[in-house]
Amino acid sequence: MTTGLGLFWFFGPFIVLLFVIGLYCIFATYNLVKALIGLEILIKAVTLLIIVAGCISGRLALAQTMVITLIVIEVVIMVVAIGIVLGIRGHTGSLDARELRSVKG
């Protein structure tokens, strides 16, 4: 158990850092492609967290299958989101999220 907790404290700060970097990217940018890149970095932090959790609990095989599912869903989300971003660019002529303020109700 000590080994498992040691593993968590070793990877934990890096996972938190990755998560903060991804959140910062989403909050700070107005560019829609950059926001998607931030979302990708957030998902990377979650992927690493699931694998570390699998190592700690001794169910690494189950964690790997969860990560495979996560990657499949990530790809679908990214493909659809990029399609939407390209559609917005075709409509407004830019990738700036501020151009979408007129959509607000």
């Binding site: 040691g6 593993l7 990377k44 790997q64 990530e74 990214m78 659809v80 399609g83 390209l86």
Partner: protein, 160 residues
């Protein structure tokens, strides 16, 4: 163990470079680098299948998607980018402060980093779990993939 620390530091540095760089193309390349380094970290944790998926799909396919998208769009001018970076620094000055405070709190708590990577459990096989125990999830993944494909087809459908 030193390889793990170096990989993790490189992973964080690559993610930071991805976010902070001005060019969108460099961001896309940085994301591919981040995925590749994450695959190394995952492989070191004895999760070979997840590492292969991460390397091939995230570092390959998604990076190609991003770089294709970036090549289809016009980049910001240098002046616009510098102006945006200035306002960004003004708005989010407190985020690095929070990270440093949390790191100091971790140091004060004197956490022990006695790391010894556990070996993979021989009784469990990822292939067995994926194709037998989580069969319903695999069907769900196929449905999600189809939903994504139909969604993209609908988005790029030509309007008459």
């Amino acid at each position: 163990m030193s390889i793990d620390i170096i990989s993790l530091i490189a992973l964080t540095a690559a993610a930071l470079w991805t976010v902070m760089t001005r060019s969108l193309l460099r961001s896309g390349i940085g994301l591919a680098l981040t995925s590749a380094l994450l695959a190394v970290v995952i492989f070191r944790l004895n999760a070979a299948y997840a590492a292969v998926f991460e390397l091939s799909v995230c570092s390959g396919l998604i990076s190609v998607l991003f770089i294709s998208t970036i090549s289809l769009t016009h980049p910001l001018t240098r002046a616009e980018t510098l102006e945006h970076m200035k306002t960004r620094l003004k708005r989010f000055w407190y985020l690095p402060v929070i990270v440093v405070l949390v790191a100091v709190a971790f140091c004060i708590a004197r956490l022990k980093f006695s790391v010894e990577l556990p070996k993979a459990v021989a009784a469990e096989d990822a292939r067995f779990i994926l194709w037998n125990l989580r069969r319903l999830d695999v069907i769900g993944q196929v449905i999600i993939l189809l939903a994504g494909a139909f969604g993209v087809a609908l988005l790029f459908k030509k309007r008459d």
